[in-house]
C-alpha cells in the first residue's frame, strides 16, 4: 500500500475535519482567484482602453493626464477648447483651402501647409468636441473619420463594427448633418436604437436640452473601450447646436462660402466660430511621434500627450498600489488557509499517535510516517486548491456575459491571470510547510509509549 493511499485514507477517515479544512482552503483559493481575476480584468480593461488607435492626443495646455482622461476615457472636464485653426495645422495647404472654402474663413489659412502636416504622413487627425450629454453619457462631436480610421482591440487592428445601422456621414439627404451613432452600453441602458431621436443636453447631464435633435443611424458593437459609453454625433451638427458657436472677433477676416439659392442644407459654422476640445493624432512614421509631440507642446496654444504613457502613469499610480494590496490579501489568505491546515492536522495528532506507533511497529520508518502527514497536507492543498481554483473560474465564467457587457473583455472558462500560474504551487508549498509541524510531531512519536496507550 502506497503512502499516498494511507494519507488519503486518513483524510477520508476524519471526514468532517478534513472537509472543513479543505473547504477553508477552497474558499481561500477561490477568493484569491477572484481577486486576481478582477485585477486581471481591470488591467486588461486599462490596456484595451489605452489602445485607442492613436499615438497622440492634442488639447489645450494643462494636465496631460486630464487631457487623456477627457479625450480617451470621456472622463473629467475638458481643460479648455482649441481654436479650429489648431486642428487645421495637421493638414496641407490644399486641404486647408478646401476647409476655408466650405466653412468660410480667412483665405490666408489655405495658402500654407499646416505646421504639423509634414508629420502626419499616411496617418490622421480626428477632432473631438465635447460638452454635451445624453443622459449620463458624453456626446462626442467628431467626423466620420473616427469610424473609418480609428482601430481598437488588443492589437489595435479591429475596425468599429455596428450591431445595427451604420456610421454617420458628412451630410445625408435624410438627416443632413444631424446623425448620431451610439455606443453599445448607451443603447442598452438608454433603450435607444436606430431610428430614434437623440436630444443632447448642454453642459451637464441635467443641463438644458438642445432643441435640435440627432437621428440615431447606428449602434456600435461592444468594444470594451470607453466608446461603448459615448454618443457620437456629426461635428458639423454639433457645431450648429445652440450655444456651440464661438463669437466672431470684430476684426476677423472671413470670406463666406458661396451658396446656391436653392440649397436648403444648414449653414455650417465658419472657421473662426469653431472650436475643438481635443484632436486624436496618428502620425506615420511613428518614429516622428516624439518630435511632433515636442513641436506641438512648444507652441503657445496646445499640448500633445501620449495616451499610452499617461495611462501607464495612471496605472502605476493606482493599479500599482492596488496590485500590492491584492498581493498582500492573496498572501494573507493563503497564510490563513495554511494555518488552518496546520491547526486541523495538529489537533488530530493526539488521535493519531497510536496509529503512528502501530505503523512504526509494523516496520514503518520515521520518515515514512512523516511523509504520510505531509502527504495528507498535500491532499488537502491539492483538493482545496484545485476545487477552489476551478470553482472560482466556473463562477467567473458564469458571470462572463455581464463582465463582457461591462468591459468588453471576453471571459473563457480557463482564462487565467499571470499570477494564477503560481497560485497552486504556492498553496502546495505553504501547505507542506504547515504540515511540517504535525509531521515533525509524528516523526518524534514514541512508539513504545503509544503502542500501549
Amino acid at each position: 500500500m502506497r503512502l499516498i493511499k494511507i494519507a488519503w485514507r486518513n483524510f477520508c477517515y476524519r471526514k468532517l475535519s478534513s472537509l472543513l479544512t479543505t473547504l477553508n482552503l477552497t474558499l481561500g483559493v477561490a477568493l484569491v482567484v477572484g481577486v486576481l481575476s478582477i485585477y486581471g480584468i481591470i488591467s486588461e480593461a486599462f490596456v484595451r482602453n489605452a489602445s485607442v488607435g492613436c499615438n497622440l492626443v492634442v488639447g489645450p495646455k494643462g494636465s496631460a493626464l486630464q487631457l487623456t482622461l477627457n479625450a480617451v476615457y470621456y472622463l473629467s472636464q475638458p481643460i479648455e477648447n482649441l481654436p479650429f485653426t489648431e486642428y487645421m495645422e495637421f493638414f496641407d495647404a490644399d486641404a486647408r483651402a478646401k476647409m476655408v472654402k466650405r466653412y468660410g474663413g480667412d483665405p490666408e489659412l489655405g495658402e500654407r501647409d499646416g505646421k504639423y502636416a509634414g508629420f502626419i504622413g499616411g496617418g490622421f487627425a480626428i477632432p473631438l468636441a465635447l460638452g454635451d450629454y445624453f443622459g449620463e453619457y458624453r456626446v462626442v462631436g467628431t467626423t466620420p473619420d473616427f469610424f473609418e480610421r480609428l482601430r481598437h482591440g488588443p492589437s489595435v487592428d479591429q475596425p468599429f463594427t455596428f450591431a445595427e445601422g451604420r456610421s454617420f456621414v458628412e451630410s445625408s439627404p435624410e438627416h443632413s448633418v444631424f446623425e448620431a451613432v451610439v455606443g453599445s452600453r448607451v443603447a442598452a441602458t438608454m433603450d435607444v436604437s436606430v431610428g430614434d431621436q437623440m436630444n443632447p443636453t448642454h453642459g451637464d447631464p441635467d443641463g438644458k436640452g438642445h432643441g435640435q435633435g440627432f437621428q440615431i443611424v447606428g449602434v456600435m458593437d461592444p468594444t470594451g473601450t470607453p466608446n461603448d459609453r459615448a454618443v457620437f454625433v456629426n461635428l458639423e451638427g454639433f457645431y450648429l447646436l445652440e450655444g456651440h458657436a464661438k463669437p466672431i472677433e470684430p476684426e476677423a477676416n472671413i470670406v463666406w462660402p458661396t451658396r446656391d439659392e436653392n440649397d436648403t442644407s444648414p449653414i455650417l459654422l465658419s472657421i473662426p466660430e469653431r472650436e475643438v476640445t481635443s484632436i486624436l493624432v496618428q502620425n506615420e512614421p511613428r518614429l516622428l511621434a516624439l518630435p511632433l509631440q515636442n513641436l506641438i507642446s512648444e507652441g503657445q496654444a496646445s499640448q500633445a500627450a501620449a495616451p499610452v504613457g499617461e495611462i501607464n502613469k495612471l496605472m502605476s499610480l493606482i493599479v500599482g498600489p492596488l496590485t500590492k494590496a491584492l498581493l498582500a490579501i492573496t498572501a494573507i489568505t493563503c497564510f490563513v488557509a495554511a494555518v488552518g491546515i496546520l491547526v486541523a492536522i495538529y489537533n488530530s495528532m493526539n488521535d493519531r499517535r497510536r496509529d503512528i506507533a502501530v505503523m512504526r511497529a509494523l516496520g514503518a520508518r520515521r520518515d515514512s510516517v512523516t511523509w504520510i502527514i505531509l502527504l495528507e497536507s498535500l491532499i488537502i492543498a491539492l483538493v482545496g486548491g484545485v476545487v477552489g481554483w476551478f470553482g472560482a473560474h466556473v463562477a467567473i465564467f458564469m458571470a462572463g456575459d455581464y463582465i463582457e457587457a461591462q468591459t468588453g473583455i471576453p471571459i473563457g472558462l480557463l482564462t487565467m491571470s499571470e499570477m494564477e500560474v503560481y497560485l497552486i504551487p504556492i498553496v502546495v508549498l505553504l501547505s507542506l510547510i504547515a504540515g511540517l509541524v504535525p509531521a515533525m510531531s509524528a516523526y518524534r512519536t514514541d512508539v513504545a509509549t503509544n503502542l500501549n496507550a
Binding site: V358, M359, G363, A364, V447, A448, N452
Partner: protein, 238 residues
C-alpha cells in the same frame, strides 16, 4: 535464530540516576520454535519484546537475529529488520480504524521490501475465518474478530518471529481459544517462531517450552527493582 546475551535495559529516573528494568544473561529461540513467556505484570515482558522487535536499542548486551547484531543497526536498520523479520500481535489489537480489515492486513506488508500481495492478504483473512469481513472497518468487527485480523496482519509480511503480547487478555474465553489456536497453528503452518507473553497458565499448557520471566530476568528478582524499575510502558500494560 534469536540469541540475547547479557542484555541490560535501563531507564532514566525522573529524579536522576537509572533504573534497571531488564537484565537477561541469556535467552534464545530457534527457528520455528514456540515459546511462552510467563511472568507477573511489570516484570519487563513488554520491554523484552520491544528490544527483540528493535523498537528500542538495548542499553547493553547483544541481541542477534539470524546473525544480525541489532545493537549495531541504526534506527532505520532496525525499522527494516522489524518490517522484514518481526510480526507483532498486541494485547489491544491496534488495528488502524481508517482501514478495512483487508487493508489492515496489507499494512503488514507495506513497510517491508516485498510488494503488497493482495492474494496473500485474502488468503490470510480466509485462514482466520474473516473472508466475508474483508471490507469491514475495525469498529464493525467484534473484539475477537479484530484480534484475528491483527494476527493476519502480523503474519502478512512473512516474519521469522511472531511476538504476541498477551493476545488473549482482552477477548472473551471462547474467542481467546480461537485466537490462541490461530496464532499457534498459523505460526506452525508458516514455520514462524513464536514468542508469546502471557500470565495465563492455561495458555502455557499449549506450549512445549515455557519460560518464566523471573528465571531469565535477573532484575526481576529484586523486589525493590520490581517496584522501581518498571518502565512507564510496562506499567501501562498492566
Amino acid at each position: 535464530m534469536l540469541k540475547l546475551t547479557d542484555v541490560i535495559q535501563r531507564f532514566d529516573q525522573p529524579g536522576g540516576g537509572q533504573l534497571t528494568v531488564l537484565d537477561v544473561p541469556s535467552f534464545e529461540i530457534d527457528a520455528g520454535e514456540q515459546v511462552a513467556l510467563i511472568g507477573q505484570s511489570g516484570g519487563g515482558k513488554t520491554t523484552l519484546l520491544h528490544l527483540i522487535a528493535g523498537l528500542w536499542s538495548a542499553t547493553q548486551g547483544s541481541i542477534r537475529f539470524d546473525g544480525l547484531e541489532l545493537s549495531r543497526l541504526s534506527e532505520q536498520g532496525r525499522d527494516r529488520f522489524r518490517a522484514a523479520c518481526i510480526g507483532y500481535v498486541f494485547q489491544t489489537f491496534n488495528l488502524l480504524p481508517a482501514f478495512s480489515a483487508i487493508e489492515n492486513v496489507q499494512l503488514g506488508m507495506t513497510f517491508g521490501r516485498q510488494r503488497v500481495d493482495i492474494d496473500r492478504s485474502r488468503e490470510l483473512l480466509r485462514r482466520v475465518g474473516l473472508s466475508d469481513r474483508a471490507h469491514y472497518r475495525p469498529h464493525q468487527l467484534s473484539v475477537g474478530q479484530q484480534q484475528r485480523v491483527a494476527i493476519a496482519r502480523a503474519l502478512a509480511g512473512r516474519p521469522k518471529l511472531l511476538l504476541a503480547d498477551e493476545p488473549t487478555a482482552n477477548v472473551d474465553p471462547a474467542s481467546a481459544e480461537t485466537v490462541l489456536n490461530l496464532i499457534i497453528e498459523s505460526c506452525r503452518d508458516e514455520n514462524v517462531a513464536l514468542l508469546m507473553v502471557t500470565h495465563n497458565l492455561e495458555i502455557c499448557e499449549r506450549f512445549q517450552r515455557v519460560d518464566q520471566l523471573e528465571q531469565i530476568n535477573r532484575a526481576f528478582g529484586d523486589s525493590e527493582h520490581s517496584k522501581q524499575t518498571m518502565a512507564p510502558e510496562d506499567s501501562a500494560c498492566v
